[in-house]
Symmetry: C2
Subunit: 322 residues, 2 copies
């Protein structure tokens, strides 16, 4: 990770990590300082959190969501966690253990929702039942359950652990298609709407290597494995392409994402397809929807009626289709 | 290049090339048909060439510039060629031979300008004298000499061989920085201005693999080697990243470039820094410039005063600096 004898840029003590995009090495203490500073700057620059906000952190048990929860607590915020059980076999079991252990050790409140227990389906079954990629049913379910839990719990803001690599990869995908509506929506803050809390991403100035390092130096036990359902998805190909560019020109990934926000996002304001005016309420659950019944309630109907599908089957399907 | 037994999509005869982005294989005849159709479509869609235009093709001796010249002649246009000698050792010697042989065999007129003979410097020496990358002095010289030759010869339009890979890579570089002014200028047609002909790129709908295949099936002898000065430049890294994306999702490169022109370019109209109003004439050569003496005349002064630098020296410098 770092050359033998490398020194921390701040204190000249032994470094534990090199960060080529900062052209510097850091010790554990000053790596944490850098992470805190980047999160404070993101929260400030993008006006993410107000002093009296009630904060809910969407926690997967992976490095990013545990890092952002830890950072917010470390910075003095009060924040509860929300874990959504997706029923992805052992992957979900271990991720739940990581989230619960983190909360218990710190005396934090972790709310839990479970697709299998509360809605009688899981992500692998939903993928087969809907004949879509697993990430589609998973994302739809999480968005719905995050919104519902935040609204029911009276939270003002929902925090997610999306990091710079995530946001740059999504931006790259939208840019490859020049999908103006998607580009216009890509922001580190999405304002609150009826039935939806404000959504903020305080880690957008930190790479996934930096959030992993935060967890390691803080002794946070997180789920290291990637989701087995995600193998072969385009998001990972976009990350790989950007990593190749970053390796040749350190800092490219940050300037790609942050220059977009500075230079291009203002030009796209006003180009978002306005879908707010036509939103009504789901006749079943009351969530915002453009139809009678919302997409999540329709997914519950389809997926809970299907015979359970083991994780391995979907995983193999994914590989065969690559 | 193509699976054994693969058949041409058009005639079901034996195929010589597979084109995954078209999800098809083609024989030599129908590959040519596809290339002609794409060039006709580009010329038509972007209004590149008018019936009475006098056409000058910038010819390097590589596959793209010889392919575009050949395609224009094949499509019934009258077009002369322009070769600029850059003094890059054996690379330039072979490229000149390819350009001359092509013109002679077809009875076409090839104009020639030479940096060493006419301006007493070459690209390697200019790179060292200006302490910039070789591509910088080379691009500046070519733009100036193309404009000057076209204007002096009374040509209406200058054609270059930039292909889809070239344009997508430049777009990717500008997008990585979100350089709005550069993005706003990126177009397959640049209108004429005082001292500059209209500039058009009829190959923007063809990949470099397709232009190479055109040359091969047409028996055109072209310089295969990349310029030795270009090793390690960012343009090649951008091409590699896009090729990795294209391999996973055929058609991505074309949709990246063409969707930019369709979806984004209209939003950027009006965001070009307006540098036309302040342009005067160079007191030495009369070319458009914002200063007293144009950048090319200043380059001539600096580079022709410097002791000649062998190609190998600059080539090694480039590699050391990667």
């Amino acid at each position: 990770m770092v050359a033998a004898g490398a020194k921390c840029r701040t204190c000249r003590g032994p470094a534990i990590i090199d960060l080529p995009r900062h052209n510097a090495n850091f010790c554990a203490e000053h790596l944490q300082e850098l992470c805190r500073r980047q999160v404070v700057k993101a929260i400030h620059d993008f006006d993410m959190i107000q002093p009296d906000d009630r904060i809910l952190v969407a926690v997967s048990g992976g490095k990013d969501s545990l890092a952002v929860w830890d950072l917010l607590i470390d910075l003095g915020y009060h924040a509860d966690g929300l874990y959504v059980g997706l029923g992805i076999g052992e992957y979900s079991e271990v991720s739940a253990q990581c989230a619960r252990a983190f909360a218990t050790a710190r005396g934090l409140q972790l709310r839990e929702v479970s697709l299998p227990d509360d809605y009688h389906f899981d992500v692998p079954t939903a993928a087969v039942a809907t004949r879509r990629v697993p990430c589609s049913a998973c994302g739809l379910s999480k968005r719905h359950l995050f919104d519902t839990a935040a609204t029911a719990g009276g939270y003002d803001v929902l925090v997610t652990g999306h990091n710079l690599d995530d946001e740059a990869a999504v931006l790259f995908g939208n840019t490859l298609r020049w999908d103006i509506d998607y580009l216009a929506r890509q922001a580190p803050v999405l304002p609150a709407r009826a039935g939806m809390p404000r959504k903020v991403k305080p880690l957008v100035r930190l790479t996934e290597r930096e959030t992993a390092a935060w967890c390691i130096v803080r002794g946070i036990d997180y789920l290291v494995e990637e989701c087995p359902m995600a193998a072969g998805n385009k998001h990972l190909a976009y990350k790989a392409a950007l990593n190749a560019i970053e390796a040749g020109s350190p800092g490219s990934k940050a300037s790609f994402y942050l220059n977009f926000l500075d230079n291009m996002a203002p030009l796209l304001a006003g180009h978002r397809a306005d879908d707010v005016a036509s939103v009504g309420s789901c006749t079943r659950c009351g969530s915002p929807t453009t139809g009678d019944v919302c997409a999540f309630c329709r997914l519950v109907d389809t997926a809970s009626a299907h015979a359970p599908v083991p994780v391995e089957l979907v995983r193999n399907r994914g590989r065969r289709h690559r």
